[in-house]
Symmetry: C2
Subunit: 177 residues, 2 copies
DNA sequence: CGCTCTATTTATAACGC
DNA sequence: TGCGTTATAAATAGAGC
């Protein structure tokens, strides 16, 4: 190397450290490229400088994703499959819940009744009757509320109209009289 | 380097290729280690030889998983999250469908009716009436089918009983007579 | 920063075991 | 394969611009 043997120890001067980093980064990338070409190897080199600057080399014969996948296979280390599996489980559960809900709705709409017993059918019937009652009550309530509102509006309008008429006739008396 | 300038080109002799790979692999790992220590950098170096042999160097200050995570953050490249995100989307969709289904069921059970208009309530009422009709029909059908089955069974039993009685009386006539 | 210029160290190809 | 040896190419520290 340069003028005098260097000691492999953290360079305390941060400017020099960055300069050395830049130079050596070039060198190591070159080495990686040579290894790729000369030896037909697949190399992934990822570097973060002490200031957080990112650089990488990846053999042209592959991609970083491929290397990561292969790394996992070979090293046996599961980097993210635990997440993945948990999510898959979650999804399956949701799908099952979904299917059950949809079946319940179909039944409540009069379908998919074939494998229901008399008791179950009786239960469903009663349930539907109750629901129907509640929905009807709600409907009547909404209708009556709306009717009241309309009645009130009409009353108000009539009042206003009467007032206007009175004012109008008073005005005529004053101006004409 | 060695005795004579070398050309950076694939080494065709596979034995030499492997020898060169081993030597240069050592060299590049040494460079990576020096970069780590001298420059306070974080380095991940993953290599697969042409025969598939795996080796890696990782700075002692970090882990391969950390480098992978950081790589993704910095490069913006989705290594696995393409899978992951699609799954998350899927899951969210399922959850939404689920919520809608549950709301529909609640309504069909007479709940959650507050923000429904008269028209919607009328539709639901009619729907429930129809469903109730279908469920009742189904119930009657099941009951009548079951009744028929019982009737048939009874008829068969009576027939068998009559036959037995006849056979018995005939037997008595033969043995006693 | 980034580039150039050396002196010097380091890496390594070729060879042998 | 792996480890020495050696001649030589390559990398690079330090300096200057």
């Amino acid at each position: 190397m340069g003028r005098g043997k260097i000691e492999i120890k953290r360079i305390e001067n941060s400017t020099n450290r960055q300069v050395t980093y830049s130079k050596r980064r070039g060198g190591i990338v070159k080495k990686a490229r040579e290894l790729t070409v000369l030896c037909d190897a697949e190399v992934s080199l990822i570097m973060f400088s002490s200031t957080g600057k990112f650089s990488e080399y990846i053999s042209h014969t592959t991609t970083t994703k491929k290397i990561f996948d292969r790394y996992q296979q070979v090293s046996g280390i599961n980097l993210w499959s635990s997440h993945y599996e948990r999510m898959q489980e979650h999804l399956n559960k949701q799908k099952e819940i979904n299917n059950n809900l949809q079946r319940e709705i179909r039944r409540r709409m009069g379908g998919d009744l074939d494998d229901m017993s008399i008791e179950e059918l009786r239960g469903l019937e009663q349930n539907l009757e109750n629901s129907l009652k509640v929905v009807r009550e709600r409907k009547y309530h909404v209708i009556s509320t709306q009717t009241d509102t309309y009645k009130k509006k009409i009353r108000n309008l009539q009042e206003a109209h009467t007032n206007l008429l009175r004012q109008f006739s008073e005005m005529r008396i004053h101006t004409m009289g």
